[in-house]
């Protein structure tokens, strides 16, 4: 392993870029805007390239943390600056660094107000998100986890829609409430184990009684972040009011905090409680999948519909995670990654027509295929990916999750699988109403197809989605060893329970 602190560089480079933007001298407003955009784009592109090194250099044969860095931070408290990634977190870092330049590019022309602050907010957020996924110290983790709230609050509140204040407050206070309970759990863990180091905490083994409480406290935070039914109500509001790029980051990365948190904390640190609470998670997830899908079916607002679809998809993810099987968990991670790309793309797709018509209502549109063929094709691809068409990234995740849950509980599997059908219903229904039919509305007659910048925004996402669907092996290979390591204790328990001799293997 090289001594080069590549992970810190990926984490804090966006912050350096934000500093540069801050230093742009005032003067001609147009010049300032252009400079801010270019600096943000360059910074995020360089960060993306650097983060690709992580993948290239990643050793897929070990479950240990890689690219580790450790520096004394609060030595008196035994809290250190400890970073590192494993097969579970590595792709989330990449997802973040991929989506940030896309967000910058997507806001290139649409955001004209306070561009400097906007770009700074996105770059700061990138730092927080990458840091969150690669922190290996609970206190550091919490700082990044919570720090995201500040830029996101400002992004929704400053550049959002008409009800942005309500949405921003709801987002902030919901997430904060969950998180402070997690903070107490973190403190209790830290006090009990005497360390804040995540790898050390994974080894520690908390007492069964304590696990229950800790698990619940972490659940409070992750369930809100993910979000799970019934604490999902902040999400539609936040999505509808946030600017397009804000929705992209929210759906693409922030929702993954919860799923990642379950994998990083709940499963390895509180295994007994995890087994104990799995039925609760299954119940909530099934409700999310079925009920929220039905709610999505009734939506008239495109962004709201996609927001509800996100909740439903996250229901799949939680089911997958708590199957505690290799397929289920790999499927869940894969689904989070593909959902990160697909839902990001869907929000961008809504953004494209919103920029032209300033309406997100499905009823505003109709017959767009006649005026915007390229757009219709792109939309179709991502819509089908979201539904889980084989050949796209969405399929692999759903398939693996269902494979995993069938081994555990057939009923849960059957009920979860209805979500696939319902997902197809609301997506196709929306697609038909927006794209097909005749162009009858006068103001749609002059609508223009996607321009070169917009095509450039979607091209990488299309590439990734198809790649994930057609040849998922490179992605799954990275996760494989880490996931096996994660479920090892559960496998042991299962073997012990079913009486199969370990020696027999």
């Amino acid at each position: 392993m090289t001594e080069f602190p590549i992970l810190s560089l990926v984490t804090f480079l966006p912050l350096v870029g934000a500093g540069f933007i801050l230093a742009i001298p005032g003067g001609d407003a147009e010049v300032v805007r252009r400079n801010a955009r270019s600096v943000a784009l360059w910074t995020s592109m360089i960060t993306l390239l650097l983060s690709l090194f992580l993948w290239v250099q990643f050793d897929t044969t070990t479950a240990a943390f890689q690219f580790e860095e450790r520096r004394a931070w609060m030595p008196a408290f035994n809290i250190s600056y400890h970073m590192g990634v494993d097969g579970i977190s590595m792709f989330f870092v990449l997802l973040t660094t991929l989506l940030t330049p896309i967000c910058v590019l997507a806001s290139w022309e649409t955001v004209t107000d306070r561009v400097k602050e906007y770009m700074i907010a996105f770059l700061v957020m990138e730092t927080m998100m990458v840091g969150m996924f690669s922190a290996l110290d609970v206190v550091l983790f919490y700082i990044f986890f919570e720090g995201v709230l500040i830029p996101m609050f400002l992004i929704i509140g400053v550049w959002g829609g008409p009800r942005r204040v309500y949405a921003a407050f709801k987002f902030f206070l919901y997430t904060l409430t969950g998180s402070v309970l997690m903070l107490l759990a973190i403190l209790a863990m830290y006090f009990t184990a005497g360390t804040a180091d995540i790898p050390a905490l994974m080894e520690y083994g908390f007492s069964a009684d304590m696990q229950t409480w800790l698990w619940l406290a972490f659940f409070a935070s992750f369930a809100v972040k993910l979000p799970m039914w019934p604490v999902h109500t902040w999400l539609p509001d936040a999505h509808v009011e946030a600017p397009t790029a804000g929705s992209v980051i929210l759906a693409g990365v922030l929702l993954k905090f919860g799923g990642y948190g379950f994998l990083r904390f709940s499963l390895p640190m509180f295994p007994d409680a995890t087994i104990e609470f799995a039925p609760l998670i299954f119940t909530l997830s099934i409700i999310a999948v079925i009920y929220v899908s039905l709610v999505a079916l009734a939506q008239e607002d495109m962004k709201k519909l996609i927001a509800y679809s996100s909740v439903a998809h996250m229901g799949f993810v939680t089911v997958g995670v708590f199957t505690l099987t290799a397929q289920g968990i790999e499927g869940a991670i894969f689904m989070m990654l593909s959902h990160g790309v697909i839902s990001a793309a869907l929000f961008l797709i809504v953004g494209v027509v919103y920029d032209r018509m300033h309406s997100r209502d499905i009823s505003t549109y109709g017959g767009l295929v006649h005026r915007m063929p390229v757009y219709a094709l792109t939309f179709m691809l991502f819509m089908l990916a979201s539904v889980g068409l084989p050949g796209t990234g969405g399929f692999i995740g759903e398939f693996l999750i269902l494979l995993g849950i069938f081994q555990v509980n057939t009923w849960v599997a059957a009920l979860t699988a209805t979500g696939v059908v319902l997902g197809a219903m609301y997506m196709l229904y929306m697609y038909r109403r927006v794209i097909f039919g005749k162009v009858i509305k006068a103001d749609l007659k002059a609508i223009l197809d996607m321009n070169r910048r917009e095509v450039m925004v979607f091209a990488p996402l299309i590439l990734v989605v198809l790649w994930m669907g057609l040849y998922p092996a490179p992605f799954l290979d990275v996760m494989h060893v880490s996931v096996d390591n994660l479920i090892e204790p559960f496998e042991q328990a299962r073997r012990a329970a079913s009486g199969v001799a370990v020696a027999g293997r």
Binding site: F144, E146, G147, L187
Partner: protein, 498 residues
Amino acid sequence: MAEVPNLIPALPEIFLVCAAMALLMLGVFQSGDEGKDEVKTAQLISNLSLTTLVLTLLLVTTIASGPMLTFGGMFINDSFAVFFKVLVLIASALTITISQEYMTRQGIARLEFGVLILLATVGMMMMISANDLMAMYLGLEVQSLSLYVLASFQRDDMRSTEAGLKYFVLGALASGLLLYGCSLVYGFAGTTSFDTLAALFAAHPEEAPSVGLVIGIVFILAGLAFKVSAVPFHMWTPDVYEGAPTPVTAFFSVGPKIAALALFLRIMIGPFGDLAAQWQQIVVFVAIASMVLGAFAAINQTNIKRLMAYSSIGHIGYALIGLAVAGQGGDGAVREAGIQGVLIYMAIYLFMNVGTFACILCMRRSDHMVEDIDDLAGLSKSHPMMAVALAIFMFSMAGIPPLAGFFGKFYIFLAAVEAGLYGLAVIGVLSSVVAAFYYLRIVKVMYFDALGDSLEKPIGRDMAGVLVGTSLIILLFFAWPSPLLSAAAAATRGLFAG
């Protein structure tokens, strides 16, 4: 008895009090008869006061070497005292810095201001160093009397006069309670010395203290709770904060509060440390009540100074969690963690609060001060830098990482969890979510609302300096927390060693 007491430990106080007298005389002789010189004199005096405070700060830090007792054991100078004295001196110096422009423009630039701040500082330093009930009361009164005058410094203004009077009446009542408590303790224990009291209670750990003594402690607690404005002795805070001239409010919210808290810690841990079972529940109650009231009562405030009053009540509640932890008993390390949490919390609180008040002092529109939260509408457009600074302070007070305010809460809650005070910790974090709402509201007004009437600009150079300094401290604390942590640890050890 003819022996001259060792003056070295009290040298900073002696220097400060002499300087204050000298400045007073200098001012009186300078100003002469003509009124037009008054402003110049006032500025001279406040600049000299600032210099004096800086010199005192140097003195305090240079003579710090282990615990030193003097005046027959009534006065102690240990690392705990040094830590708090540094905070108080910084608070006084910052207050003078941010007040100059305001005083001149409000037409109340008088030489007494600087001198009164110096005298109040002397009182606070004596409180911090008190090692005897009498010395404590003496310090408290020197400080309080200066503060009563400061509260009504704008004597032609109804609100200011009212604030001063209110503060005086209620403050005198609290001092009376405190003194009554002291006399009960003296009557039942037979001594006023902290060291003797501590030895006395330590010698008879099994024996239940007499009822009179417990009542005395409760009275002392009530008097001190008044001074730190903890619920249920907080009623004066919003009115006085609103009425007093803003720089004075800024001073009230940091200096006296920090000094009184230092006294609170010393008296509870020192002489009454072994009676923790008697007072710990009261502190728990006061902490919970302060946090909850601070969070809920602030929601409906429209005046930013009143809001800050409730916010400071809430913050004291959090700080008192640390004391409740120290009173929980058990492991010595846990008790130290509690006190250390309080010290870190108060140090961070100092910078957040001074910074916020510097922002409030910049809220001026066509030559009169405005104090409504709505007056900040669209501040991010008209004063981007000031808006960023205020947003940093607000997020920090709400306890959002990576800002310093988060770390303050972090150490406090850590101590609470270590001591097993889960109920207190849960109430604490939940009330911090409620409090986050009103801190966010200020951010909302600055960033989300359309620009109304712009506030005056540019802001003064002193203000800009204080704003940049305090906001950088709050923003970058996470990068290098060790100096404060180790200073607080050393101060805590000093308290427990004594």
